[in-house]
Protein backbone atom coordinates (compact mmCIF):
# COMPACT_ATOMS: atom_id res chain seq x y z
CA UNK A 1 0.00 0.00 0.00
CA UNK A 2 1.12 3.58 -0.63
CA UNK A 3 2.77 5.01 2.45
CA UNK A 4 3.90 8.49 3.46
CA UNK A 5 7.60 9.31 3.54
CA UNK A 6 8.90 8.97 7.08
CA UNK A 7 12.36 9.17 8.64
CA UNK A 8 13.99 8.31 11.93
CA UNK A 9 14.09 10.83 14.78
CA UNK A 10 17.52 12.46 14.74
CA UNK A 11 17.95 12.03 10.98
CA UNK A 12 17.80 15.18 8.86
CA UNK A 13 15.87 15.48 5.63
CA UNK A 14 16.01 18.06 2.90
CA UNK A 15 12.63 18.67 1.25
CA UNK A 16 14.27 18.89 -2.18
CA UNK A 17 15.16 15.20 -1.86
CA UNK A 18 11.56 14.13 -1.18
CA UNK A 19 9.38 13.57 -4.26
CA UNK A 20 6.10 15.47 -4.37
CA UNK A 21 5.09 13.39 -7.43
CA UNK A 22 6.59 9.94 -6.86
CA UNK A 23 6.12 6.82 -8.92
CA UNK A 24 2.68 5.43 -8.01
CA UNK A 25 3.22 1.88 -9.21
CA UNK A 26 -0.02 0.27 -10.40
CA UNK A 27 -2.25 2.79 -8.62
CA UNK A 28 -4.54 5.15 -10.50
CA UNK A 29 -7.51 7.35 -9.69
CA UNK A 30 -10.04 4.54 -10.04
CA UNK A 31 -8.28 1.94 -7.92
CA UNK A 32 -7.52 4.65 -5.35
CA UNK A 33 -11.22 5.60 -5.15
CA UNK A 34 -12.19 1.97 -4.57
CA UNK A 35 -9.62 1.54 -1.86
CA UNK A 36 -10.67 4.80 -0.19
CA UNK A 37 -14.30 3.65 -0.06
CA UNK A 38 -13.13 0.51 1.77
CA UNK A 39 -11.00 2.58 4.12
CA UNK A 40 -13.91 4.90 4.87
CA UNK A 41 -16.18 1.98 5.79
CA UNK A 42 -13.52 0.57 8.13
CA UNK A 43 -12.68 3.94 9.68
CA UNK A 44 -16.39 4.61 10.22
CA UNK A 45 -16.74 1.48 12.34
CA UNK A 46 -13.48 2.02 14.18
CA UNK A 47 -14.34 5.66 14.95
CA UNK A 48 -17.64 4.48 16.43
CA UNK A 49 -15.79 2.00 18.65
CA UNK A 50 -13.32 4.71 19.67
CA UNK A 51 -16.26 6.89 20.73
CA UNK A 52 -17.94 4.05 22.63
CA UNK A 53 -14.68 3.06 24.32
CA UNK A 54 -14.06 6.66 25.44
CA UNK A 55 -10.43 6.06 26.47
CA UNK A 56 -8.21 7.16 23.59
CA UNK A 57 -8.00 10.16 21.27
CA UNK A 58 -6.63 10.47 17.75
CA UNK A 59 -5.29 13.80 16.57
CA UNK A 60 -4.45 14.36 12.93
CA UNK A 61 -2.36 17.49 12.30
CA UNK A 62 -2.36 18.88 8.76
CA UNK A 63 0.21 21.38 7.56
CA UNK A 64 1.23 22.46 4.07
CA UNK A 65 1.96 25.40 1.80
CA UNK A 66 -0.97 27.37 0.33
CA UNK A 67 -2.96 25.20 -2.11
CA UNK A 68 -1.36 21.99 -0.76
CA UNK A 69 -4.92 20.82 -0.07
CA UNK A 70 -5.60 20.77 3.65
CA UNK A 71 -9.34 21.36 3.17
CA UNK A 72 -9.56 18.96 0.25
CA UNK A 73 -7.80 16.24 2.22
CA UNK A 74 -10.19 16.64 5.14
CA UNK A 75 -13.19 16.56 2.80
CA UNK A 76 -12.08 13.43 0.94
CA UNK A 77 -10.76 11.46 3.88
CA UNK A 78 -13.58 12.13 6.37
CA UNK A 79 -16.72 12.39 4.24
CA UNK A 80 -18.69 9.18 4.77
CA UNK A 81 -17.71 8.91 8.45
CA UNK A 82 -20.10 10.17 11.13
CA UNK A 83 -19.29 13.87 11.67
CA UNK A 84 -20.00 13.38 15.38
CA UNK A 85 -16.73 11.38 15.50
CA UNK A 86 -14.71 14.46 14.59
CA UNK A 87 -13.64 17.70 16.18
CA UNK A 88 -12.04 19.81 13.49
CA UNK A 89 -10.15 22.92 14.56
CA UNK A 90 -9.03 25.47 11.97
CA UNK A 91 -6.20 27.72 13.14
CA UNK A 92 -6.45 31.08 11.45
CA UNK A 93 -4.79 34.37 12.31
CA UNK A 94 -4.81 34.48 16.13
CA UNK A 95 -7.25 36.82 17.91
CA UNK A 96 -5.94 39.55 20.20
CA UNK A 97 -7.03 37.44 23.18
CA UNK A 98 -5.02 34.51 21.83
CA UNK A 99 -2.00 36.75 21.25
CA UNK A 100 -2.24 37.82 24.91
CA UNK A 101 -1.21 34.27 25.89
CA UNK A 102 1.64 31.89 25.08
CA UNK A 103 1.49 30.41 21.58
CA UNK A 104 0.21 27.01 22.74
CA UNK A 105 -2.72 28.38 24.76
CA UNK A 106 -5.21 28.38 21.90
CA UNK A 107 -3.92 25.04 20.67
CA UNK A 108 -4.36 23.35 24.04
CA UNK A 109 -7.98 24.53 24.21
CA UNK A 110 -8.66 22.86 20.87
CA UNK A 111 -7.35 19.40 21.80
CA UNK A 112 -10.14 16.90 21.05
CA UNK A 113 -12.15 15.11 23.74
CA UNK A 114 -11.47 11.48 24.58
CA UNK A 115 -13.16 9.14 22.12
CA UNK A 116 -12.96 11.67 19.30
CA UNK A 117 -10.84 12.07 16.19
CA UNK A 118 -9.49 15.61 16.15
CA UNK A 119 -8.15 17.30 13.05
CA UNK A 120 -5.99 20.41 13.23
CA UNK A 121 -6.28 22.38 10.01
CA UNK A 122 -2.99 24.24 10.55
CA UNK A 123 -1.68 23.99 14.10
CA UNK A 124 0.96 24.93 16.65
CA UNK A 125 3.45 24.82 13.76
CA UNK A 126 2.18 28.11 12.35
CA UNK A 127 4.19 29.74 15.13
CA UNK A 128 7.45 28.46 13.68
CA UNK A 129 6.35 28.94 10.05
CA UNK A 130 4.50 32.13 9.08
CA UNK A 131 5.62 33.77 12.33
CA UNK A 132 9.26 32.97 11.54
CA UNK A 133 9.15 33.83 7.85
CA UNK A 134 7.52 37.21 8.51
CA UNK A 135 9.64 37.98 11.58
CA UNK A 136 6.52 38.47 13.69
CA UNK A 137 8.64 37.66 16.73
CA UNK A 138 12.46 37.72 17.03
CA UNK A 139 14.52 34.58 16.38
CA UNK A 140 15.32 34.32 20.10
CA UNK A 141 11.59 33.73 20.66
CA UNK A 142 10.69 31.35 17.84
CA UNK A 143 13.87 29.31 18.07
CA UNK A 144 12.93 27.83 21.47
CA UNK A 145 9.45 26.89 20.33
CA UNK A 146 10.49 23.60 18.71
CA UNK A 147 11.37 22.23 22.13
CA UNK A 148 8.17 23.60 23.63
CA UNK A 149 6.15 21.92 20.87
CA UNK A 150 7.91 18.61 21.50
CA UNK A 151 7.16 18.93 25.23
CA UNK A 152 3.52 19.78 24.51
CA UNK A 153 3.11 16.82 22.19
CA UNK A 154 4.67 14.59 24.85
CA UNK A 155 2.09 15.82 27.35
CA UNK A 156 -0.77 15.01 24.97
CA UNK A 157 0.66 11.61 24.12
CA UNK A 158 0.98 10.63 27.77
CA UNK A 159 -2.61 11.80 28.27
CA UNK A 160 -3.87 9.26 25.74
CA UNK A 161 -3.71 11.23 22.49
CA UNK A 162 -2.19 9.54 19.44
CA UNK A 163 -0.70 12.32 17.30
CA UNK A 164 -0.34 11.86 13.54
CA UNK A 165 1.35 14.83 11.88
CA UNK A 166 1.08 15.19 8.10
CA UNK A 167 2.99 17.61 5.91
CA UNK A 168 1.27 17.90 2.53
CA UNK A 169 4.27 18.28 0.25
CA UNK A 170 3.77 20.04 -3.10
CA UNK A 171 6.24 21.37 -5.64
CA UNK A 172 6.56 25.05 -6.51
CA UNK A 173 5.38 24.36 -10.07
CA UNK A 174 2.26 22.56 -8.79
CA UNK A 175 1.41 25.54 -6.60
CA UNK A 176 1.75 27.82 -9.61
CA UNK A 177 -0.74 25.73 -11.55
CA UNK A 178 -3.22 25.61 -8.69
CA UNK A 179 -3.10 29.34 -8.07
CA UNK A 180 -3.57 29.98 -11.78
CA UNK A 181 -6.52 27.58 -11.83
CA UNK A 182 -8.18 29.53 -9.03
CA UNK A 183 -7.80 32.71 -11.04
CA UNK A 184 -9.07 31.18 -14.25
CA UNK A 185 -12.08 29.30 -12.80
CA UNK A 186 -14.97 31.66 -11.92
CA UNK A 187 -16.25 29.18 -9.29
CA UNK A 188 -12.89 29.15 -7.53
CA UNK A 189 -11.87 32.77 -7.86
CA UNK A 190 -13.26 33.74 -4.44
CA UNK A 191 -10.49 31.60 -2.94
CA UNK A 192 -7.76 33.71 -4.51
CA UNK A 193 -6.18 36.70 -2.83
CA UNK A 194 -3.37 38.92 -4.10
CA UNK A 195 -1.69 38.17 -0.79
CA UNK A 196 -1.19 34.61 -2.07
CA UNK A 197 1.30 35.93 -4.65
CA UNK A 198 3.27 37.79 -1.98
CA UNK A 199 3.43 34.59 0.09
CA UNK A 200 4.55 32.63 -2.96
CA UNK A 201 7.55 34.94 -3.34
CA UNK A 202 8.67 33.64 0.07
CA UNK A 203 8.61 30.01 -1.12
CA UNK A 204 12.24 29.28 -0.25
CA UNK A 205 11.96 30.81 3.22
CA UNK A 206 8.89 28.68 3.91
CA UNK A 207 10.57 25.50 2.68
CA UNK A 208 13.48 26.19 5.00
CA UNK A 209 11.15 26.85 7.93
CA UNK A 210 9.25 23.63 7.15
CA UNK A 211 12.49 21.66 6.99
CA UNK A 212 13.42 22.89 10.46
CA UNK A 213 9.97 22.05 11.85
CA UNK A 214 10.14 18.59 10.27
CA UNK A 215 13.68 17.88 11.44
CA UNK A 216 13.42 19.32 14.95
CA UNK A 217 9.96 17.95 15.79
CA UNK A 218 10.16 14.46 14.32
CA UNK A 219 9.94 12.63 17.64
CA UNK A 220 9.22 9.04 18.48
CA UNK A 221 5.99 10.02 20.23
CA UNK A 222 4.79 12.34 17.45
CA UNK A 223 6.51 11.58 14.14
CA UNK A 224 6.05 13.53 10.91
CA UNK A 225 4.54 11.95 7.81
CA UNK A 226 5.44 13.64 4.54
CA UNK A 227 2.59 13.17 2.07
CA UNK A 228 3.49 13.51 -1.63
CA UNK A 229 0.70 15.89 -2.68
CA UNK A 230 1.20 16.98 -6.27
CA UNK A 231 -1.47 14.43 -7.23
CA UNK A 232 -4.59 15.07 -5.18
CA UNK A 233 -5.97 11.53 -5.46
CA UNK A 234 -2.69 10.01 -4.30
CA UNK A 235 -2.43 12.44 -1.39
CA UNK A 236 -5.99 11.55 -0.31
CA UNK A 237 -5.32 7.82 -0.64
CA UNK A 238 -2.24 7.97 1.59
CA UNK A 239 -3.94 10.02 4.32
CA UNK A 240 -6.98 7.75 4.16
CA UNK A 241 -4.69 4.72 4.65
CA UNK A 242 -2.93 6.44 7.52
CA UNK A 243 -6.21 7.25 9.29
CA UNK A 244 -7.48 3.69 8.93
CA UNK A 245 -4.16 2.11 9.92
CA UNK A 246 -3.87 4.30 13.01
CA UNK A 247 -7.43 3.53 14.11
CA UNK A 248 -6.72 -0.19 13.63
CA UNK A 249 -3.58 0.16 15.69
CA UNK A 250 -5.48 1.91 18.50
CA UNK A 251 -7.79 -1.14 18.42
CA UNK A 252 -10.70 0.47 20.31
CA UNK A 253 -13.06 -1.90 22.15
CA UNK A 254 -16.68 -1.55 23.19
CA UNK A 255 -16.73 -0.94 26.96
CA UNK A 256 -17.97 -3.62 29.34
CA UNK A 257 -21.61 -3.33 30.37
CA UNK A 258 -22.78 -2.70 33.94
CA UNK A 259 -22.87 -5.69 36.28
CA UNK A 260 -26.14 -7.38 37.13
CA UNK A 261 -28.12 -6.72 33.97
CA UNK A 262 -29.00 -10.35 33.22
CA UNK A 263 -32.69 -11.09 33.22
CA UNK A 264 -33.91 -7.51 33.59
CA UNK A 265 -37.29 -6.98 31.92
CA UNK A 266 -38.17 -3.37 31.11
CA UNK A 267 -41.71 -2.42 32.12
Amino acid sequence: MPKPFTFDPGDKINLKDVAARPDVGHWDKESAAERMAENTAKSRDLAYRLYAENKQTLLLVLQGMDTAGKDGTIRHVTTGINPQSFQIAPFKQPSSEELDHDFLWRVHKAVPRRGNVGIFNRSQYEDVLIVRVHNLVPKSVWSTRYDRINDFEKLLTEGGVRIVKCFLHISKEEQRERLQARLDNPDKRWKFSKGDLAERKLWDDYQEAYEDALNKCNTKHAPWHIIPSDRKWYRNLIVSELLKDTLEDLDPQFPPSEEGLDGIVVE
Copy 2:
Protein backbone atom coordinates in the same frame (compact mmCIF):
# COMPACT_ATOMS: atom_id res chain seq x y z
CA MET B 1 -42.85 15.35 1.39
CA PRO B 2 -43.00 14.20 5.03
CA LYS B 3 -42.90 17.18 7.35
CA PRO B 4 -42.49 17.57 11.11
CA PHE B 5 -45.48 18.54 13.21
CA THR B 6 -45.44 22.30 13.84
CA PHE B 7 -47.87 24.70 15.49
CA ASP B 8 -48.34 28.44 15.72
CA PRO B 9 -46.65 30.46 18.46
CA GLY B 10 -49.21 31.05 21.20
CA ASP B 11 -51.09 27.80 20.47
CA LYS B 12 -50.80 25.02 23.04
CA ILE B 13 -50.19 21.39 22.19
CA ASN B 14 -50.55 18.27 24.26
CA LEU B 15 -48.00 15.60 23.37
CA LYS B 16 -50.62 12.87 23.73
CA ASP B 17 -52.38 14.35 20.70
CA VAL B 18 -49.27 14.18 18.48
CA ALA B 19 -48.65 10.83 16.77
CA ALA B 20 -45.22 9.27 17.31
CA ARG B 21 -46.06 6.68 14.63
CA PRO B 22 -48.22 8.50 12.07
CA ASP B 23 -49.48 7.26 8.74
CA VAL B 24 -46.53 7.41 6.32
CA GLY B 25 -48.51 7.36 3.08
CA HIS B 26 -46.55 5.69 0.28
CA TRP B 27 -43.18 6.04 2.02
CA ASP B 28 -41.16 3.04 3.10
CA LYS B 29 -37.58 2.34 4.15
CA GLU B 30 -36.32 1.96 0.59
CA SER B 31 -37.87 5.11 -0.89
CA ALA B 32 -36.80 7.02 2.22
CA ALA B 33 -33.18 5.85 1.78
CA GLU B 34 -33.18 7.00 -1.85
CA ARG B 35 -34.59 10.38 -0.95
CA MET B 36 -32.08 10.78 1.89
CA ALA B 37 -29.18 10.11 -0.47
CA GLU B 38 -30.47 12.93 -2.70
CA ASN B 39 -30.88 15.22 0.29
CA THR B 40 -27.34 14.45 1.46
CA ALA B 41 -25.89 15.36 -1.93
CA LYS B 42 -27.79 18.67 -1.94
CA SER B 43 -26.95 19.50 1.67
CA ARG B 44 -23.28 18.73 0.99
CA ASP B 45 -23.14 21.36 -1.75
CA LEU B 46 -25.17 23.89 0.20
CA ALA B 47 -23.05 23.43 3.34
CA TYR B 48 -19.95 24.10 1.23
CA ARG B 49 -21.50 27.31 -0.07
CA LEU B 50 -22.49 28.30 3.46
CA TYR B 51 -18.86 27.86 4.52
CA ALA B 52 -17.55 29.83 1.53
CA GLU B 53 -20.10 32.62 2.05
CA ASN B 54 -19.16 32.93 5.75
CA LYS B 55 -22.15 35.10 6.67
CA GLN B 56 -24.84 32.84 8.10
CA THR B 57 -24.98 30.01 10.64
CA LEU B 58 -27.37 27.11 10.96
CA LEU B 59 -28.01 25.59 14.37
CA LEU B 60 -29.91 22.33 14.71
CA VAL B 61 -31.04 21.60 18.27
CA LEU B 62 -31.93 17.99 19.09
CA GLN B 63 -33.91 17.03 22.17
CA GLY B 64 -35.77 13.85 23.07
CA MET B 65 -36.37 11.24 25.74
CA ASP B 66 -33.73 8.54 26.32
CA THR B 67 -33.51 6.22 23.26
CA ALA B 68 -35.39 8.74 21.07
CA GLY B 69 -32.37 8.62 18.76
CA LYS B 70 -30.39 11.85 18.96
CA ASP B 71 -27.10 10.14 18.08
CA GLY B 72 -28.70 7.98 15.40
CA THR B 73 -30.33 11.01 13.79
CA ILE B 74 -27.03 12.88 13.68
CA ARG B 75 -25.27 9.85 12.20
CA HIS B 76 -27.85 9.24 9.47
CA VAL B 77 -28.53 12.83 8.52
CA THR B 78 -24.95 14.12 8.44
CA THR B 79 -22.88 11.15 7.24
CA GLY B 80 -21.91 11.87 3.64
CA ILE B 81 -21.51 15.60 4.24
CA ASN B 82 -18.04 17.05 4.87
CA PRO B 83 -17.45 16.86 8.65
CA GLN B 84 -15.62 20.20 8.42
CA SER B 85 -19.04 21.79 7.81
CA PHE B 86 -20.24 20.78 11.27
CA GLN B 87 -19.63 21.75 14.85
CA ILE B 88 -21.39 19.22 17.03
CA ALA B 89 -21.76 20.00 20.73
CA PRO B 90 -22.92 17.30 23.14
CA PHE B 91 -24.33 18.68 26.40
CA LYS B 92 -23.73 16.19 29.17
CA GLN B 93 -23.90 16.67 32.92
CA PRO B 94 -22.46 20.15 33.53
CA SER B 95 -18.97 20.48 35.05
CA SER B 96 -18.47 22.29 38.34
CA GLU B 97 -17.07 25.25 36.38
CA GLU B 98 -20.20 25.35 34.24
CA LEU B 99 -22.40 25.14 37.34
CA ASP B 100 -20.55 28.17 38.71
CA HIS B 101 -22.15 30.27 35.95
CA ASP B 102 -25.66 30.96 34.69
CA PHE B 103 -27.23 28.07 32.80
CA LEU B 104 -26.69 29.61 29.35
CA TRP B 105 -22.96 30.25 29.82
CA ARG B 106 -21.81 26.87 28.54
CA VAL B 107 -24.38 26.96 25.75
CA HIS B 108 -23.27 30.35 24.49
CA LYS B 109 -19.67 29.13 24.28
CA ALA B 110 -20.78 26.26 22.04
CA VAL B 111 -22.61 28.39 19.46
CA PRO B 112 -21.16 27.48 16.03
CA ARG B 113 -18.97 29.80 14.01
CA ARG B 114 -20.31 31.69 11.03
CA GLY B 115 -20.44 29.52 7.92
CA ASN B 116 -20.89 26.33 9.94
CA VAL B 117 -23.77 24.01 10.70
CA GLY B 118 -23.93 23.49 14.44
CA ILE B 119 -25.73 20.61 16.07
CA PHE B 120 -26.64 20.65 19.75
CA ASN B 121 -26.98 17.08 21.04
CA ARG B 122 -29.15 18.12 24.02
CA SER B 123 -29.07 21.85 24.75
CA GLN B 124 -30.22 24.75 26.92
CA TYR B 125 -33.49 22.84 27.34
CA GLU B 126 -31.90 20.34 29.73
CA ASP B 127 -32.18 23.11 32.33
CA VAL B 128 -35.98 23.06 32.16
CA LEU B 129 -36.19 19.26 31.71
CA ILE B 130 -33.96 17.02 33.84
CA VAL B 131 -33.28 19.94 36.19
CA ARG B 132 -37.02 20.51 36.68
CA VAL B 133 -38.00 16.86 36.94
CA HIS B 134 -35.32 16.14 39.54
CA ASN B 135 -35.83 19.41 41.45
CA LEU B 136 -32.16 20.30 41.02
CA VAL B 137 -33.16 23.94 41.47
CA PRO B 138 -36.42 25.34 42.95
CA LYS B 139 -39.40 26.14 40.73
CA SER B 140 -38.82 29.86 41.26
CA VAL B 141 -35.51 29.42 39.43
CA TRP B 142 -36.44 27.13 36.53
CA SER B 143 -39.77 28.81 35.84
CA THR B 144 -38.14 32.04 34.60
CA ARG B 145 -35.77 30.17 32.31
CA TYR B 146 -38.26 29.80 29.44
CA ASP B 147 -38.17 33.57 28.95
CA ARG B 148 -34.41 33.66 29.22
CA ILE B 149 -34.13 30.92 26.59
CA ASN B 150 -36.43 32.86 24.27
CA ASP B 151 -34.31 36.00 24.77
CA PHE B 152 -31.11 34.03 24.13
CA GLU B 153 -32.47 32.51 20.95
CA LYS B 154 -33.53 35.99 19.82
CA LEU B 155 -29.98 37.22 20.33
CA LEU B 156 -28.56 34.38 18.24
CA THR B 157 -31.15 34.86 15.50
CA GLU B 158 -30.40 38.57 15.19
CA GLY B 159 -26.71 37.66 15.04
CA GLY B 160 -27.27 35.59 11.91
CA VAL B 161 -27.99 32.14 13.35
CA ARG B 162 -30.96 30.22 11.95
CA ILE B 163 -32.22 27.99 14.77
CA VAL B 164 -34.06 24.75 13.98
CA LYS B 165 -35.27 22.97 17.12
CA CYS B 166 -36.32 19.33 16.86
CA PHE B 167 -38.07 17.28 19.49
CA LEU B 168 -37.71 13.58 18.69
CA HIS B 169 -41.08 12.28 19.83
CA ILE B 170 -41.35 8.60 20.83
CA SER B 171 -44.07 6.66 22.63
CA LYS B 172 -43.57 5.05 26.02
CA GLU B 173 -44.03 1.60 24.47
CA GLU B 174 -41.35 2.29 21.85
CA GLN B 175 -38.90 3.32 24.58
CA ARG B 176 -39.63 0.07 26.40
CA GLU B 177 -38.78 -1.95 23.30
CA ARG B 178 -35.56 0.00 22.67
CA LEU B 179 -34.33 -0.34 26.24
CA GLN B 180 -35.09 -4.07 26.17
CA ALA B 181 -33.24 -4.39 22.86
CA ARG B 182 -30.16 -2.77 24.43
CA LEU B 183 -30.28 -5.30 27.23
CA ASP B 184 -30.79 -8.25 24.93
CA ASN B 185 -28.17 -7.36 22.29
CA PRO B 186 -24.59 -8.01 23.52
CA ASP B 187 -23.24 -5.35 21.11
CA LYS B 188 -25.56 -2.70 22.54
CA ARG B 189 -25.51 -3.61 26.19
CA TRP B 190 -22.74 -1.13 27.04
CA LYS B 191 -25.26 1.62 26.27
CA PHE B 192 -27.62 0.46 29.01
CA SER B 193 -27.51 1.73 32.57
CA LYS B 194 -29.78 0.85 35.47
CA GLY B 195 -30.29 4.59 35.83
CA ASP B 196 -32.27 4.44 32.56
CA LEU B 197 -34.99 2.48 34.35
CA ALA B 198 -35.22 5.07 37.15
CA GLU B 199 -35.58 7.81 34.53
CA ARG B 200 -38.25 5.83 32.71
CA LYS B 201 -40.35 5.79 35.90
CA LEU B 202 -40.48 9.59 35.57
CA TRP B 203 -41.93 9.39 32.04
CA ASP B 204 -45.04 11.45 32.81
CA ASP B 205 -43.07 14.18 34.56
CA TYR B 206 -40.73 14.43 31.57
CA GLN B 207 -43.62 14.60 29.10
CA GLU B 208 -45.13 17.43 31.11
CA ALA B 209 -41.81 19.27 31.24
CA TYR B 210 -41.37 18.79 27.48
CA GLU B 211 -44.88 20.11 26.83
CA ASP B 212 -44.06 23.27 28.75
CA ALA B 213 -40.77 23.73 26.90
CA LEU B 214 -42.50 23.19 23.57
CA ASN B 215 -45.41 25.51 24.36
CA LYS B 216 -43.48 28.30 26.06
CA CYS B 217 -40.53 28.38 23.65
CA ASN B 218 -42.26 27.95 20.30
CA THR B 219 -41.40 31.39 18.97
CA LYS B 220 -41.54 32.86 15.51
CA HIS B 221 -37.75 33.26 15.47
CA ALA B 222 -37.02 29.77 16.83
CA PRO B 223 -39.97 27.42 16.29
CA TRP B 224 -40.16 23.82 17.50
CA HIS B 225 -40.44 20.90 15.09
CA ILE B 226 -41.93 17.74 16.55
CA ILE B 227 -40.45 14.74 14.75
CA PRO B 228 -42.50 11.51 14.90
CA SER B 229 -39.72 9.12 15.94
CA ASP B 230 -41.16 5.68 16.65
CA ARG B 231 -39.91 4.63 13.20
CA LYS B 232 -36.21 5.42 12.93
CA TRP B 233 -36.15 5.65 9.12
CA TYR B 234 -39.07 8.07 9.07
CA ARG B 235 -37.51 10.23 11.78
CA ASN B 236 -34.24 10.37 9.80
CA LEU B 237 -36.07 11.22 6.58
CA ILE B 238 -37.91 14.15 8.13
CA VAL B 239 -34.82 15.65 9.76
CA SER B 240 -32.87 15.16 6.53
CA GLU B 241 -35.60 17.07 4.63
CA LEU B 242 -35.60 19.79 7.24
CA LEU B 243 -31.82 20.23 7.02
CA LYS B 244 -31.89 20.42 3.23
CA ASP B 245 -34.93 22.73 3.12
CA THR B 246 -33.39 25.10 5.66
CA LEU B 247 -30.08 25.25 3.79
CA GLU B 248 -31.98 25.94 0.55
CA ASP B 249 -33.89 28.70 2.30
CA LEU B 250 -30.67 30.28 3.59
CA ASP B 251 -29.57 30.28 -0.07
CA PRO B 252 -25.84 30.75 0.59
CA GLN B 253 -23.78 32.33 -2.22
CA PHE B 254 -20.11 32.12 -3.09
CA PRO B 255 -18.51 35.41 -2.06
CA PRO B 256 -17.35 37.91 -4.68
CA SER B 257 -13.68 37.70 -5.64
CA GLU B 258 -11.17 40.48 -5.02
CA GLU B 259 -11.13 43.35 -7.49
CA GLY B 260 -8.44 43.60 -10.12
CA LEU B 261 -7.66 39.92 -10.64
CA ASP B 262 -8.23 39.88 -14.42
CA GLY B 263 -5.20 38.98 -16.47
CA ILE B 264 -2.93 38.04 -13.57
CA VAL B 265 -0.39 35.37 -14.53
CA VAL B 266 1.16 33.45 -11.64
CA GLU B 267 4.92 33.08 -11.93
